[in-house]
Point group: C2
Amino acid sequence: FIECRQVVKEYPNGVRALDGISLAIERGEWVAIMGPSGAGKSTLLHLIGGLDRPTAGEVWVDRIPVHTLEGSAAADYRRNYVGIIFQQFHLVPYLTALENVMLAQYFHSVPDEAQARRVLELVGLASDRFSHYPAQLSGGEQQRVAIARALVNDPPILLADEPTGSLDHEAEQTVLALFQRIHARGKTILLVTHAPHVARRAQRRIVLEHGRLVDVAEPWAT
Amino acid sequence: FIECRQVVKEYPNGVRALDGISLAIERGEWVAIMGPSGAGKSTLLHLIGGLDRPTAGEVWVDRIPVHTLEGSAAADYRRNYVGIIFQQFHLVPYLTALENVMLAQYFHSVPDEAQARRVLELVGLASDRFSHYPAQLSGGEQQRVAIARALVNDPPILLADEPTGSLDHEAEQTVLALFQRIHARGKTILLVTHAPHVARRAQRRIVLEHGRLVDVAEPWAT
Ligand SMILES: Nc1ncnc2c1ncn2[C@@H]1O[C@H](COP(=O)(O)OP(=O)(O)OP(=O)(O)O)[C@@H](O)[C@H]1O
Ligand SMILES: Nc1ncnc2c1ncn2[C@@H]1O[C@H](COP(=O)(O)OP(=O)(O)OP(=O)(O)O)[C@@H](O)[C@H]1O
Ligand SMILES: [Mg+2]
Ligand SMILES: [Mg+2]
């Protein structure tokens, strides 16, 4: 369903963030992507999400050559296939929490305020925070808005980059339970984390180090 | 050394982020500030750092009425007393990692490239990343630049808001060991975290919930 073939990503300044990655992910799998800081985890997620293109190699999703997509073709792919939770959230500063979630709906199909509210409740955001701007939200509240935004269109693939890093224990449990529910409905989840207790929820773990795959454990085995 | 007296912070939209906080921190203490997402931890740090002023109550640091400081008086206080590691890093996007650290030196006294480089090495950033801009750094690399920037002027007080949230295990150990060394030299550390293994390094833990102090454990006891 998701396949990387000899993927290389070299940034303009010569940094080789991914150095020949090959992996295959089944539809409906939940995979944890681990590895040290700077290993290339976020880079890998960006390439699978069609946000950037590899320097070499191929990225295939549902038989679509994602590595060749640009501009509106890439936007269409993302709209139909992926929900992305960014490590730095990337919320729109001049839109409220609710508007940030509804913006994703607008680009996907049609805004639906009731549904946007429902998803924000599901991730545990207090309803009186829905009208706050990102700057008026705590770190953990911003992260929850980013999660809601990625989930609201019910995408077949969830790309989650350290999705609970700013959450306290209780909020983290809420979010992971939510991921477990959508996974049970057939979603494919790629979750970047350096926390073993989060990675444990996945069915399989892959480990990156200096742009290379160093470990693929299947099924989960530590 | 650091004292809050009945501190209240109410944001313009009516959110009462801090609801009457009173606490006293000795010079040279390492205190962990814990509590759920939205509890008011970042807000408390901002008030102690003179980045914002309380709605009511007083913040005293070394007998300076920090709650009354504005503009250049507040900037002078920060320059002389605090190094701040922000939860969202807040690096200057158009300056490199090294320049971001040297900017803090420039505002404090005088730029010193050798020393800036030394601190970046101490936090574990690879030297070939020193010339990268924040957008060209991984999440963990950006966080390390933010840490270096807070430490480079050797401030008497370190205000650290989730300083290792984006770091892998090894980098986290490096940073915490570094904090332990500066603490041994007499620094006062206020560290916001929701990770018990990080809080454990502190001498004392205070817990916030909905803008109030609910627990003060002294000495460390769980
Ligand atoms: N635009 C860029 N230009 C140059 N180098 C980059 C760029 N973006 C990232 N890098 C480098 O590529 C490497 C991989 O970055 P990436 O963000 O994928 O790491 P990561 O595994 O997500 O790390 P972390 O756990 O710290 O978030 C890093 O060492 C980083 O410095
Ligand atoms: N500018 C603002 N205007 C209105 N409300 C705000 C503003 N900034 C923060 N808040 C609210 O104040 C409360 C406390 O925020 P704060 O950032 O201090 O929480 P925190 O304890 O640091 O949380 P986290 O662990 O999620 O970072 C939050 O519920 C937040 O929604
Ligand atoms: Mg990353
Ligand atoms: Mg905070």
